[in-house]
């Protein structure tokens, strides 16, 4: 229910420019998280340093989008779909900014652990989590540009998968730490990296909810599956022997 153009063309232009900026910010964020993940996988300190520098551009765009939204609310008194679009832009931009920060945090950790050897099993688990989180982010940004609620809903439900991998990674990392205290430094950093990816997934679901609201004007009418069970996980020394 949109497509008709505003009588005031400059208003139409502002809405379009807001959309473009979100798309641009989404692209930058996706790129940044992808590079952070690559840096972690390849233990590439140079790439990680780039990521840390690039986050500035995302922050800059966030400010631009917010300023534009505030100015539009003040000058245009937006209604209905326009109002929802501007509110959605503000919400999405803040989720994207957080996602950028989490990516940057992964990159910072790469700088601390890039010289350490990582167990191949862990790397595998991290990789499947990363590719899932990245795919989710890409899908939700597509859902936004296409105004596709179905796609947004799929993203919303699929977050459970990221949570599931995070749960098992959490368990595994604890197990490694117990096996050999020399792993603790590396594993703690990896645990935070995994947690960051899990948080990226949460922000991605927030965006999915915003897309749903933007298009239909209503909240998603269902209970979100909560998959992060790590708050209840405690690995005892006995578990380590049983597992191996």
């Amino acid at each position: 229910m949109s497509s008709t153009e505003h009588i005031v063309t400059s208003y139409e232009g502002e809405l379009e420019s807001l959309d473009k900026k979100i798309a641009q910010m989404g692209g930058l964020t996706e790129n940044l998280v992808g590079q952070a993940v690559d840096a972690l996988r390849l233990r590439d300190a140079d790439l990680a340093s780039h990521v840390i520098e690039d986050d500035v551009h995302i922050d800059q765009l966030e400010r631009e989008i917010e300023d534009q939204a505030i100015s539009m609310i003040a000058r245009r008194q937006p209604m209905a779909l326009d109002l929802r679009q501007i509110m959605a832009a503000v919400k999405i931009t803040s989720d994207l900014e957080r996602i950028g920060d989490l990516g940057k945090n992964i990159a910072k950790r790469v700088l601390s652990i890039h010289h350490e050897k990582q167990p191949s099993q862990l790397v595998h688990g991290m990789r499947s989590m990363q590719s899932l989180a990245l795919a989710q982010l890409k899908n939700v940004l597509d859902a936004y540009t296409e105004r596709n609620t179905e796609k947004a809903l799929s993203v919303w439900y699929a977050d459970e998968e990221i949570d599931a991998i995070y749960n098992s990674l959490f368990r595994e990392l604890l197990t490694y730490m117990m096996e050999d205290p020399r792993n603790i430094g590396l594993c703690t950093h990896l645990l935070f990296c995994a947690k960051n990816m899990e948080r990226i997934g949460d922000h991605t679901t927030n965006i999915a909810e915003t897309v749903h609201y933007l298009v239909l004007g209503s909240e998603i009418a269902a209970e979100r599956p909560k998959g992060d069970k790590t708050t209840k996980i405690l690995v005892e020394p006995g578990d380590v022997e049983n597992d191996s």
Binding site: M1, S2, T4, E5, H6, I7, V8, Y11, Q77, P78, M79, A80, L81, D82, L83, R84, G125, S128, T149, E150, L153, S154, Y157, A158, E160, E161, A164, I165, N167, S168, H212, L216, G217, S218, E219, I220, A221, A222
Partner: protein, 286 residues
Amino acid sequence: MEVQSIESKKAEQTRQVEQAKKMSPAEETASQPQGPIKMSGKDVSVFYGEKQALFDVNLEILENSVTSLIGPSGCGKSTFLRCLNRMNDVIDICRVSGLITLEGEDIYNPELDVVELRARVGMVFQKPNPFPKSIYDNIAYGPRIHGLTTDRAELDELVESSLKKAGLWEEVKDRLTESGTGLSGGQQQRLCIARAIATRPDVILMDEPCSALDPIATATIEELIDDLRKNYTIVIVTHSMQQAARVSQRTAFFHLGKIIEEGETSQIFTNPRNKKTQDYITGRYG
């Protein structure tokens, strides 16, 4: 790893997505009027000679609420408003069909006293139109012709309370004998509201009451409307969408003589169900 179980979850997710889609269709959540109905129009059609201006309009006006009628010029919103106190009667070629009730009573019943109806359903117009009389006499006029008071003291009291309800008393209490036309635009409009209140109406109709006023006078009237709602039922026609959004609880959108959409004001302005409503309130080509 729990990767295997993830695969099996795919099917479950698809099912959930389908279910959630079913759960959030916009139409089913459309709000129905709640609360006692003060006035109601059923299949109201209005003809000016051969030309039909309203087509089977149905609208319920809730007690102690502000209902705003919005829509482009010529959409029929003022025509409908004027039906509610039979102001259209004064136009010779105008014919009204359908049923309009006030507290369940047909207001087009031939036995009904139109003058009394207009005392119960008062009206405030776009341009303030005080009588060229004193402030006091402007207010006292209605009560006098309707015989609402028995002595001077009672009339004095009614004039004072009407001016107080209209938020004008403090500004005019020392110059009640001065002419009403000497007041500022905003004060004149509040004088007209006080004049409408003086006949102790149930309903107050307002036809663009602020379009001739500056923003401060407009804000005063809007504050007054919000205050009057406690004791009266108000129907307001406005061209300002922001005003409709600010002052009313329910909004009806008219287009080409029909009601396109009617509902809670907050819903109409954040999530209208109809594309025509959306196009109009967001300023798009219809």
